[in-house]
């Protein structure tokens, strides 16, 4: 796959920042509105897949290597497990929400019932959303990139 025509490349370049902003919004507001790490990560990864289709897999693999994507995914997984183990250290059990009720960050408890959304709530859940989002972005885009590259190498079949 050597990339598509100039029209497709232009439209993909214009649309790509909007898709990225929307996906990062879904990740960052995962504890307030419908969404979260997995869904926003899937949105961002599909935006990256659009760039991959428009420009071709050889060009994309020249921009970002698969090894860097593996490192990014490992960083996301390590952040997630570290947050879970910190719950064991500061709190009582594994996956303890230790930031809730504290004064550091994300510590406010909302009142019961229908409330106006406040982003400074929910303890470690936004941080876990970011970690899982990073992991899903790197994982899905790595899968798509490596499969596209492998199916363009040998055209004789």
């Amino acid at each position: 796959m050597n990339g598509m025509s100039r029209i497709v490349k232009t439209i993909a370049s214009i649309t790509f920042p909007l898709v990225m902003i929307y996906g990062l919004y879904i990740i960052a507001h995962g504890h307030l509105t419908p969404g979260g790490g997995f869904q926003g990560g899937a949105v961002v990864a599909s935006g990256c897949a659009m760039i991959l289709i428009a420009y071709g897999s050889v060009w994309t693999l020249g921009k970002i290597k698969e090894k860097n994507l593996s490192i990014l995914e490992s960083v996301g997984a390590i952040c997630f497990i570290t947050l879970a183990i910190l719950g064991l250290g500061f709190g009582t059990v594994f996956f303890k929400n230790f930031l809730i009720g504290s004064e550091i960050i994300f510590g406010i408890i909302p009142s019961f019932g229908s409330t106006i959304s406040n982003i400074n709530t929910a303890g470690v859940i936004p941080l876990m959303n970011f970690a899982v989002g990073l992991k899903v972005i790197a994982g899905l885009f790595g899968i798509v990139l490596i499969m596209a590259y492998a199916s363009t190498r040998r055209d004789k079949y």
Binding site: G36, F38, A42, P110, T115, I116, A150
Partner: protein
């Protein structure tokens, strides 16, 4: 019986996928069948956790007049469906990679010509 219509839709999806898995000989079509069964299972989980006239379990700017436990759908089946979707994507990627490998090794996708039957 008309109230069980979503369950019948689930069963229809599962039967269509089972047909593709059992009677087709092409590996890609069998994978399509597995994916349809997976969609049926996701729909079954979502259907199981629905209460009549309920809204999604999200408290931000709730519609006025919503009773708090009774007027909301179940959160646990929705979370399990989220897990199931991501696992489905991972398994689908692995299956397609193995199918590409099989095609380059044998030169065919017909299950009758792959493996022991020479």
């Amino acid at each position: 019986m008309i109230f069980n219509f979503p369950f019948i839709a689930v069963i229809a999806l599962i039967i269509i996928g089972l047909y593709a898995m059992v009677f087709r000989k092409n590996l890609i079509k069998m994978v399509i069948g597995i994916t349809i069964i997976q969609s049926g299972v996701n729909l079954f989980l979502i259907t199981l956790g629905y209460r009549e006239g309920s809204v999604a379990p999200i408290f931000t700017s709730l519609p006025s007049g919503t009773e708090i436990p009774q007027g909301m759908a179940f959160p646990v089946p929705q979370a399990l469906t989220l897990t199931s979707i991501v696992i489905g994507v991972a398994v689908l990627a692995l299956m397609l990679s193995l199918i590409i490998h099989i095609y380059r090794h044998y030169g065919t996708l017909d299950v009758r010509k792959i493996g022991g039957e020479k």
